[in-house]
């Protein structure tokens, strides 16, 4: 099977000269839940933001290497970045509603894509809210401010918001940070259903969460990949001593 995303020799340096990523190589298969984990400053978020080119927002950075999405380099000059971001959705660590109603938030990406038909938008809003396990809680108050939702609801709304665009890949940057255990469980549960349809790359909240949800995982340390393997390999029989130490809680 060909990889959905193939990261090849990717290195990235911030404008202050700090090297965030060094020679990253990994393949992410379709419908896989791929976990990127490691201590802070490992380069996880940096890597995620390169995949949908949100890294473009930073000035003075340097990058070498490629990210192939369906076989085509996302950094190629002829890549349509807007289209790329519609196909690779993202959920951020801090829930980030846009000002406006829940419905406005869900419809925003669709409207920006030029979809006018209200029926189409409403259908997509409902389906993506169901996928994010939020529909039953908000179906009677779609016109309420998105800021009125609880933290967990906000985060599921953000998930639904990126699902509304029907992307191929979803990037989840610590989507359960700051959530209570029940909300966390709801988000994790929805992930299992979602990967039937999407490819998911996730930075987990903890090693425990990583081992619960991962099909495959990559352990990152100081901008380098230490080890990539199946859930079994990484969390039960790690090959690298550093992976073992981190997974068993000896550092981190």
């Amino acid at each position: 099977m060909t990889a959905k995303l193939s990261i090849q020799n990717l290195s990235f340096t911030y404008s202050d000269g700090a090297q965030a990523l060094q020679q990253i190589n990994m393949d992410i298969a379709p419908n896989e839940l791929f976990v990127l984990f490691g201590p802070s400053r490992a380069g996880k978020t940096t890597l995620l933001r390169l995949l949908n080119r949100l890294s473009d927002l930073l000035e003075g950075t340097q990058r070498t290497g490629e990210v192939l999405f369906n076989g085509r380099d996302v950094f190629a000059p002829n890549t349509d970045v807007i289209n790329l971001r519609r196909r690779i959705g993202m959920v951020f660590a801090v829930p980030t509603p846009l000002p406006g109603s829940i419905y406005d938030n869900l419809a925003y990406g669709l409207q920006m894509a030029g979809i006018r038909d209200r029926r189409v938008i409403s259908e997509r809003v409902e389906r993506s809210l169901r996928q994010a396990a939020l529909w039953d809680e908000v179906k009677d108050r779609l016109q309420d401010s998105a800021f009125a939702l609880s933290g967990g609801q906000k985060q599921r709304m953000c998930l639904a918001r990126s699902l509304a665009l029907e992307p191929e890949v979803i990037l989840l940057d610590n989507p359960t940070s700051g959530l209570d255990p029940i909300s966390t469980a709801m988000v994790e549960d929805s992930l299992f259903a979602l990967k039937q349809q999407y490819t998911i790359i996730m930075v987990p909240h903890s090693v425990q969460q990583a081992s619960r949800v991962a099909d495959k995982a990559a352990f990152l340390l100081n901008g380098e990949v230490v080890e990539i393997g199946s859930q079994q390999q990484i969390f039960i029989n790690p090959k690298d001593k550093r992976t073992e130490d981190y997974v068993t809680g000896r550092f981190g």
């Binding site: 949908n52 949100l54 927002l57 000035e59 807007i82 289209n83 971001r85 519609r86 959705g89 993202m90 951020f92 801090v94 980030t96 846009l98 000002p99 406006g100 925003y108 990406g109 920006m112 894509a113 401010s145 800021f147 918001r161 990126s162 665009l165």
Partner: protein, 281 residues
Amino acid sequence: MTRQQTQKLAAWLITGTAVVVIFPIVLVVVYVIIKGISTVDWEFLTQPPSNGMTEGGIFPALLGTLILTFGTAIAAIPLAIGAAIYLAEYAGDNRVTRTIRLAIVNLAGIPSIVYGLFGLGMFVLFLNFGTSILAGALTLGLMTLPVVISTAEEAILAVPSEFRVVSLSLGASRWQTIRHQVLPHALPGIITGVILGLGRAAGETAPILFTVAAFYLPELPKSIFDQTMALPYHLYVIATQVPGMPLEIQYGTALVLLFIVLSFTLVATVIRTVMRRRREW
């Protein structure tokens, strides 16, 4: 002194400075109201001056000021907001942008008479607009630009950056992001800046002195190439250039001008307060 005493003293001193600052302003406003209120009536506002300006009203000057302010808005607002969007959203942090910002800050500090002379040289003479509403409005617009650009840029930069990042991550273009996520939320600040700028323009004498203002012109302007009377200049004229001028008319004129400028500020404050209250984040 004990800590409590120092605390009390500091509180008194700070309150004192506030009072010292506010007192003269209140005094000026109250004084002008007391001296001028008896003159201001419907006739004063709607009649032209008569009998060598020693009688009658201020209608041509009042209308002229309103027209000039409107013209200033047309000249300055699109340019200022465009420049603010460019500086806040598109311009990188490089030497060119830094120079532009420095220039804007310095432009704000240029005395208004210099704008007046520039307007005379540029619009009246070089571009041959003559002494006209067009030349005056452009001069006032130019003077207003730096203030509006600075406040608008600040308002745009105050919009949380997450909104931009989220919007872009949802496949919105840069312009869509600015149009739908940045400008609506920056609008209260932008409007405040615009209104304060226009308020200042409405009250300025020096920029219109050589570019548009007529000493005495009872008929109303018919096109933007005509001269017009304007309140600040009219006030200057009747206060210094006309012998035997009744004081009530001077204070009445001052009161109307003060009222116009203060109402700009008031409107700005109301808009900002209402829109802030509606804000969700």
